[in-house]
């Protein structure tokens, strides 16, 4: 399995390099959130390649650096599909591949409304060493991360995750609320979680000149996320919660940089999570693939 995963990672790395350096980039107008989602999907035919890191302070154990790479493709104007590969390094322990995810988001309404619902469906195939904290669900707490990688890897998790994303845009602000329900397919109860976010570009009007440091290229905001227990014990008891300011910088070259320091809101949350990410949007990726297979575009 390890060699297979290495091959897959190598393939993805080569693929990412070729995609990044060949087709024309577009200025991304990316959300700054790391956990919450808004209702904006990837433009049809565009591919976004993303890399994210989470550095976590672990009380009573070793700090960790979890990372994931993500390929996000706009299949249609109402359907975006994404593929993730996850891994982590626990200091004084080891570096491990922790699994993959396949995510789909579907826009439910044809037009823009005050509240815009998006349905999120994800399949996760990961092991117990996963530490990317892409979401917090059920009774996930800091103490879960104390297990050594060798031990945690023995747990295999096949999970289906559903989210209802409700997002609004008002006077340049985006407000979003995500409700999460996740089911481990190996006979575990449904677990629940939430994420909330608010963000706004630093300027609403675009500059008449191409610029890197213009305020409209920066989007700032805040997100809050946490668990809501499970089917047998729903609520805030024994759940962890985080508050994180977020900032995204959309560069004219097509790159987006994101950063977010996150703070645990209770004693069973990690005290501090530092997240950062880099992504690049590739326009016309679908047309390029289509041409490879003999299409006209």
């Amino acid at each position: 399995m390890a060699s297979f995963c290495r091959l897959v990672l190598l393939g993805f790395f080569s693929f990412s390099l070729s995609a990044v350096f060949s087709p024309p980039p577009a200025l991304a107008q990316e959300r700054p959130y790391f956990v919450a989602y808004d209702h904006y999907l990837e433009e049809p035919g565009n591919l976004e390649i993303e890399y994210f890191s989470t550095y976590g302070i672990q009380r009573g154990g070793n700090n960790f650096h979890a990372f994931w790479t993500e390929c996000e493709y706009g299949a249609t104007a109402w359907w975006t599909t994404e593929f993730y590969l996850d891994g982590q390094t626990t200091f004084h322990d080891s570096t491990v591949f922790t699994g993959f995810r396949w995510e789909n988001r579907f826009r439910l309404l044809k037009r823009e409304h005050f509240i815009n619902p998006v349905l999120y469906v994800e399949y996760e195939n990961k092991n117990g060493a996963d530490k990317i904290l892409k979401e917090v669900e059920g009774h996930d707490v800091e103490a879960d991360f104390l297990v050594s990688n060798a031990e945690a890897q023995k747990e295999h998790i096949h999970e289906v995750e559903l989210k209802l994303i409700l997002s609004s845009t008002f006077k340049g602000w985006n407000f979003t609320e995500n409700t999460l329900a996740a089911k481990n397919l190996s006979n575990s109860p449904w677990e629940f979680g939430y994420a909330l976010g608010a963000s706004r570009p630093l300027a609403l009007k675009a500059s008449a000149k191409r610029c890197t440091f213009c305020p409209q290229n920066f989007i700032g905001g805040v997100e809050m996320y946490g668990g809501l227990g499970d089917r047998h014990n729903f609520g805030l008891h024994d759940t962890s919660h985080y508050l994180a300011p977020v900032l995204a910088w959309n560069l004219p070259s097509g790159w987006t940089l994101r950063i977010s320091p996150g703070f645990g809101l209770n004693d069973i949350s990690h005290r501090f999570l530092m997240r950062w990410g880099v992504s690049r949007e590739i326009t016309g990726f679908g047309s390029m693939v289509s041409r490879l297979f003999g299409g006209h575009q």
């Binding site: 399995m1 297979f4 897959v8 024309p24 577009a26 200025l27 107008q29 808004d38 209702h39 904006y40 999907l41 049809p44 035919g45 565009n46 390929c71 493709y73 706009g74 299949a75 249609t76 104007a77 109402w78 359907w79 599909t81 593929f83 699994g99 993959f100 396949w102 826009r107 044809k110 037009r111 823009e112 399949y123 195939n125 295999h156 096949h158 845009t169 006077k171 340049g172 985006n174 570009p201 609403l204 009007k205 675009a206 500059s207 008449a208 000149k209 191409r210 409209q216 004219p252 326009t283 016309g284 990726f285 679908g286 047309s287 693939v289 289509s290 297979f293 299409g295 006209h296 575009q297």
Partner: protein, 156 residues
């Protein structure tokens, strides 16, 4: 382990299939060659703008920088599908045609905001309102004086 490898392979296959299918579907109704698509259904969307939206004036009508800013936004977000000069392509229609150039700024703004998601035109409300109005100014500036109607339709 075998199950994980199979699931991974299946997921990648689905992902690849979605890319190929989405592209083949989008190009299925397009004419052969480089001729831009002309689909009256897409232009007809402009007529669906509610009267209130259609009659909204462009708040940046007198903004001296709006066309230049709109041109940059157009190159960044729209040219990939509509062509560098908005002449259209196999992916998206021309914006130089009378259907677009005679539309009111409010109708164009409404279409940008709502998209035509069943016809691959994304929702552009992720661009703040002033940027969408800048785009409208730029699009209307392409039409020439013969066809352009750059002010809202007066109420009867």
């Amino acid at each position: 382990m075998k199950a994980a490898a199979t699931a991974l392979a299946v997921s990648i296959s689905f992902l690849a299939a979605s890319v190929v299918l989405a592209q083949s579907r989008s190009s299925g109704k397009s004419p052969v060659g480089a001729t831009p698509i002309y689909d009256p259904v897409i232009y007809a969307e402009l007529q669906k703008a509610p009267e209130k939206a259609r009659n909204r004036p462009n708040p940046l009508q007198n903004d001296a920088d709006a066309v230049a800013a709109g041109a940059i936004l157009f190159a960044q977000h729209c040219a990939e599908c509509h062509g560098n000069s908005a002449e259209g392509s196999r992916k998206a229609p021309s914006l130089l045609v009378p259907e677009v150039q005679t539309a009111t700024p409010g109708a164009l703004f409404w279409l940008l905001t709502n998209g035509v998601v069943r016809k691959r035109m994304p929702v552009w409300s992720k661009l703040p309102e002033p940027q969408r109005w800048q785009l409208v100014r730029y699009i209307k500036s392409l039409g020439g004086s013969a066809t352009a109607v750059d002010s809202p339709v007066p109420k009867p």
